[in-house]
């Protein structure tokens, strides 16, 4: 099935344990996963199933207790913090449930921030940010601060920010969790559009309908393990 497709992410026997005194919490307990370029993957599961931890590991925000994680062929399971930060900033764009825009920066400045961390010049950053604002249809709101924007608008700024460094992968953690159905739909449409343009999207959600409707492949997680993998009608 995946033949001929470029592999973007591979997880091999990935475990993440938390040690709380006597107890060991096995948040992720042996996950194998291969995600190809252009996939739209949903990681589904109830809370405590390990889906968010998996996403943090894929997003190189956290290191696994055991196992290997390959991002674009590079093993990131043993990298230093600042190398991780560099890779993360270049290859991965994050979208959070609660938007997480920097409150004292305008929409445009928020979009420019990831490019600053990659060392882009100010004029390059400005140009790119303007283009991204156009893409998420918020050019008229570029100088607004997050608290002057609606939830849907904030999430669109967050999407633009996630795209700032042209990452291969966009990680979305419950991207519609704080939005009403209609604005959530709009945000999802943007994600689908970027997927069609070639971005790999990994979405974490607890909403089966959302997963089935927008993703191509759904991983169902329970107790730190992948219970089953299904393909939706979108996968064809």
């Amino acid at each position: 099935m995946a033949k001929g497709k470029r592999e973007v992410i591979r997880l091999e026997g990935v475990k993440k344990y938390y040690f709380m005194g006597e107890n060991i919490v096995k948040a992720v307990d042996g996950v194998d996963m291969v995600i190809n370029h252009g996939d739209f993957v949903a990681i589904m599961g109830p809370s405590g199933s390990g889906k968010s931890t998996t996403m943090n590991l894929v997003g190189s925000l956290d290191l696994p207790t055991d196992g290997e994680i390959y991002l674009d062929g590079h093993n990131i399971a043993r990298l230093s913090e600042s190398s991780l930060a560099q890779i993360r900033g270049k290859k991965i764009g994050f979208i959070f449930q609660s938007f997480n825009l920097i409150p004292n920066l305008t929409a445009k400045e928020n979009i420019m921030l990831p490019m600053l961390f990659q060392g882009l010049r100010i004029d390059e950053r400005e140009l790119k940010a303007e283009k991204l604002l156009e893409l998420v249809e918020l050019t008229d709101r570029k100088n607004h601060y997050p608290n002057q924007l609606s939830g849907g608008q904030q999430q669109r700024v967050a999407i633009a920010r996630a795209l700032a460094n042209d990452p291969d992968v966009i990680l979305a953690d419950e991207p519609t969790g704080n939005l009403d159905t209609k604005t959530g739909e709009k945000v999802m449409n943007f994600l689908e559009e970027f997927n069609r343009k070639g971005k790999t999207i990994i979405m974490v959600t607890h909403d089966p309908e959302l997963a089935k409707e927008h993703a191509k492949i759904v991983y169902w997680m329970k107790d730190g393990k992948i219970e089953k993998t299904t393909k939706t009608k979108k996968a064809r």
């Binding site: 956290d62 930060a85 993360r88």
Partner: protein, 405 residues
């Protein structure tokens, strides 16, 4: 890059509340003290010098000392100088003129009020010219005393106001009673800005001798020298002469020979002490301010934990986070420094104007650009050094934990 961090830091500073800026008080006070001190600079020195009536001309003054040398010169002295001492000094090489001065205290009555004060003897002839020159006095009303003036006095400037202790101002032509004799006021001197000269009574020597009856005792000898370059040598000669005449060993002198330089040195020592004290206060204030910045930065790291997590998620390295907080802390210090410089210059400026109007002097405030530049750099450094620990703490936040907070 630095510019970008500075931009972010400025934005962060703008949203900070009053609380953050209150922690800057220490730095503000410290920098204010130092800048005000330097700006006041020579104004302060001028004020102290004129307050103690230190003459700017090259005159050596000689007075007897002793175990009980408090009060006006000469009073309470166990072994006073005598007229023969004056004559002996005048015969020394390098001495152009030696003039006896007597400065007794007396009682002055005017319109049923009584005050006690200092009376200064004014000699006749050429000596008079020299004394007027040395004291640098001029009349603001009436005239100064002349030879053969009998029963006449000239008063210090404070007699024009209530500052001399009389509720009625004294005018030229008024009669005052001094130690139960009546004198006519012929002049009031210009303001000198000195508690000695502005309250003094000038009286011709003959009148004063008759009044105070000091005979051949001398309170002070003013010595005019021929060559200004020889002032130290003449001073040593006088000391040697008086040691012989008074039969005392070197190091055990019961008299004092002082030059304006020596007096200025004393003033500078006192000022130096005051300055050291103010610098010490400034230092303590700055240390307190630095601790305040550590505190406020630590708080803001905790408050912005989630933001740190987000920045890490979008690619910020630990060093990016560190520099952002480090520079923000430095700028916080800089804000304190700028405010301190502002207040310091204002205090120095108005302080100098105040001194000038009080003394009639013309000291100008000294605005030292190098000092201001150093203060700016210094306050930034203090802020950023105070920010090192909080910034490291921010940089070390684990992205996942920070995001979850």
């Amino acid at each position: 890059m630095i510019k970008d961090y500075a931009g972010l830091a400025v934005k962060n500073l703008k949203r900070r509340g009053l609380r953050s800026y209150l922690t800057l008080l220490g730095i503000l006070i410290g920098i204010t003290a130092v800048i005000a001190l330097i700006t006041l600079g020579n104004g302060l020195r001028t004020a102290v010098i004129s307050q103690f009536g230190i003459s700017s001309t090259e005159v050596i003054s000689v007075q007897a000392g002793g175990v009980n040398a408090f009060g006006p010169p000469g009073s309470g002295v166990t072994n006073p100088l005598r007229l023969e001492d004056v004559e002996a000094i005048e015969k020394l090489n390098g001495v152009e003129r030696a003039v006896r001065r007597n400065i007794p205290t007396g009682k002055l009555e005017f319109k049923d009020e009584v005050i006690f004060g200092v009376i200064m003897s004014i000699p006749d002839g050429e000596d008079r010219k020299f004394v007027y020159e040395e004291l640098n006095i001029n009349p603001v009303e009436g005239r100064l005393l002349k030879d053969r003036d009998i029963g006449k006095v000239v008063l210090g400037n404070n007699f024009l106001t209530e500052k001399a202790g009389l509720s009625n101002p004294v005018k030229v032509g008024n009669k005052v009673r001094i130690s139960d004799k009546t004198f006519e006021v012929v002049g009031i001197t210009e303001k000198k800005g000195s508690f000695i000269f502005d309250n003094v009574v000038h009286m011709n020597e003959n009148d004063l001798e008759a009044l105070a009856g000091y005979g051949d005792k001398v309170d002070l000898i003013a010595v005019k020298i021929k060559d200004k370059g020889e002032i130290e040598k003449v001073k040593e000669d006088i000391e040697k002469l008086l040691r012989e005449r008074r039969n005392v060993e070197e190091g055990e002198e019961d008299f004092e020979v002082s030059t304006p330089e020596a007096e200025l040195e004393t003033v500078d020592q006192v000022l130096g002490g005051v300055q050291a004290f103010i610098v010490l206060i400034a230092f303590v204030a700055i240390v307190v301010g630095a601790i305040g910045i550590v505190n406020t930065m630590t708080t803001s790291v905790l408050e912005r934990k989630k933001e740190i997590g987000v920045m890490k998620a979008i690619g910020a390295k630990n060093s990016d986070i560190f520099f952002q907080f480090f520079i923000e802390s430095g700028l916080l210090g800089l804000v304190g420094g700028i405010a301190g410089i502002f207040f310091g210059i204002i205090i120095g400026f108005f302080g100098t104007i105040g001194i000038n109007s009080f003394l009639g002097s013309s000291a100008s405030p000294k605005i030292d650009l190098i000092l201001i530049f150093l203060s700016l750099i210094g306050s930034f450094l203090i802020g950023s050094i105070a920010g090192i620990t909080p910034a490291l703490r921010a940089a070390k936040q684990h992205p996942v934990k920070a995001l979850r907070s």
